[in-house]
């Protein structure tokens, strides 16, 4: 089981909370929208990722579980 981060770009309003809470994986572009890596999440970061997703004011950050690691 692996986890992957995804952003709903329509919902995202560039609050930037995710980059504050998960700087290991999320940086912001020049307009404040998150840049996420493609690769699956390091298991040690899953709890932090979950907190970042919960803190998003527009619920635009999604933590998706994947059955088969690609």
């Amino acid at each position: 089981m692996s986890y992957r981060l995804r952003v709903n770009p329509i919902a995202c309003e560039a609050h930037g909370m995710c980059a504050e809470l998960l700087p290991e994986r999320i940086s912001l572009d020049e307009w404040g929208y998150p840049l996420l890596g493609e690769e699956p999440l390091d298991p040690a970061l899953v709890d932090h990722a979950r907190r970042a997703a919960a803190a998003c004011p527009t619920f635009a950050l999604l933590l998706q579980r994947e059955r088969q690691p690609r």
């Binding site: 770009p9 329509i10 560039a14 572009d29 929208y33």
Partner: protein
């Protein structure tokens, strides 16, 4: 294969039985008006009855799978697989014929709906039968008045002889580039707005009225109508193994007879240009696949073949069958800047990276095309391209980035000249690439358009 066989212009001809060679879709196409039901039947024969079993696969889907038909809206997705996905979802399906053509350089769907509405409707009716769908929706551009009227007439004509219980609805779609994108279309049909939505759910899971929905291009349905009549084997008599059949291509630019042509998949593009009366001015490059497509230098014209795998060798793809020739008289840098500005205006404005990124790209490219060209601006363009790719809900930023990247690669010498010397003489030439004016008011409307008369046969 000779050029005479591989291409066909819009000229009326008649054939009986299973036609050999081309034209297929464009057979009997009238120069004005449309084929009525009687003319359509005498040309193609009646619509065959395909059996559908509740538990087993439909005969039609099996035949389409054997034919290897792929969607002609640009994504080139196997049609049988799409039908299967809809058939396998819970709920009574809805079938949507997508004739909303937001691409300014494409006229194939407008041509099909205007001249051959019954062929398109046949395909829709067959899909409705195969899926046991409750409704057939035909989505047409609001500006495509001729297509709208001929479809309305055709639907009324079929009303008395319709065998399926499905109701047919004709719906107008705003003339926006992204409005024909399938999630945007679904959203519009659901009365929300003609803007793309975040996926999942995909239309085959939850589409119109949250029901499994088949959305396919109008040309795809027209092929289905002929495959049901003549079979998969007949369909494969033309085209390549990977890309069987024929395809509609909209050719524009400096050719004697620009227009919609039917071409064998895999046929040389040179034969298409020949069928259009040849080049009327020296060509600099060809734009393949529309405004989300790629440029190929004109020197490759003789080696280009119209198929996914052949064009991939040049980093291009047939897309929805758009071929635009750019002449030597035009300034590619100025054309690219104009296109970039148009693409930025066509952003739905929902996703930040697309909204800000395309705007910044257009501004940078206008700087390059203008007086104060700067080498650093090119680096800025590359940086912006990386920031927009794969960062929208739909493929609009990706397509725009693809087009701009390929313009920079293809027109490297012109971009260099502009960086060194500023504007060129050709910058003053009139624009060659067709652009539709963005309509802000439509963009902001959230209600379904008034131009959506429901028709019940």
């Amino acid at each position: 294969m000779s050029s005479a066989q591989s291409t066909y212009a819009e000229q009326p001809t008649r054939a009986a039985g299973s036609p050999v060679g081309l034209p297929r879709l464009l057979a009997g196409i009238p120069a004005h008006g449309s084929l009525d039901l009687a003319e359509h039947h005498s040309l193609h024969g009646p619509l065959p009855q395909m059996t559908r079993h509740r538990r087993r696969r439909s005969e039609l889907i099996a035949e389409i799978e054997r034919s290897g038909l792929r969607g002609r809206g640009g994504a080139n997705f196997p049609t049988a697989q799409k039908l299967e996905a809809v058939a396998g979802s819970r709920g009574r399906p809805i079938v949507v014929i997508n004739a909303a053509e937001g691409e300014p350089a494409s006229h194939k769907d407008a041509t099909l709906t205007r001249a051959l509405p019954h062929l398109v409707l046949d395909g829709g009716e067959l899909a409705v039968q195969a899926l046991g769908a409750s409704e057939l929706i035909v989505a047409v551009n609001e500006s495509a008045i001729a297509g709208f009227e001929s479809l309305a007439t055709a639907i009324a004509e079929r009303g008395t002889s319709a065998r399926s219980s499905a109701r047919i609805r004709l719906v107008g779609v705003p003339d926006r580039y992204v409005a024909g994108q399938e999630t945007a279309l679904i959203s519009h049909l659901n009365g929300v707005s003609a803007l793309p939505t975040f996926t999942p759910p995909l239309p085959f899971q939850h589409g119109v009225a949250r029901r499994p929905t088949l959305v396919s291009n109008a040309e795809t349905f027209a092929h289905v109508a002929l495959i049901a009549r003549h079979g998969a084997h007949w369909f494969r008599e033309l085209g390549t193994g990977a890309q069987p059949g024929s395809a509609l291509v909209t050719l524009s630019g400096p050719v004697a007879y620009p227009g919609v042509y039917e071409i064998e998949c895999g046929a040389p593009l040179g034969s298409l240009v020949d069928a259009a009366g040849g080049l009327s001015a020296p060509a600099r490059a060809l734009l393949l696949g529309g405004y989300g497509g790629s440029w190929v230098p004109a020197e490759h014209l003789d080696s280009l073949c119209f198929s996914e795998e052949q064009l991939a060798l040049y980093g291009a793809s047939p897309g929805a069958g758009v071929v635009v020739v750019l002449s030597e008289n035009a300034c590619p840098v100025a054309e690219t800047a104009r296109l970039a500005r148009w693409l930025a205006g066509e952003s739905a404005g929902q996703c930040g990276p697309c909204l800000h990124g395309l705007e910044a790209l257009a501004t940078s490219l206008e700087t390059i095309a203008g007086q104060d060209a700067h080498a650093a601006t090119r680096e800025r363009v590359e940086q912006l391209l990386a920031l927009v790719r794969r960062r929208g809900a739909c493929a609009h930023p990706d397509g725009s980035a693809r087009l701009i990247q390929s313009a920079i690669d293809t027109f490297e010498s012109e971009f260099d000249e502009h960086a060194r010397y500023g504007t060129c003489e050709r910058c003053l030439a009139p624009p060659e690439l067709p652009l539709m004016q963005p309509r802000r008011t439509r963009h902001l409307s959230t209600r379904r358009s008034s131009l959506s008369p429901a028709r019940q046969p």
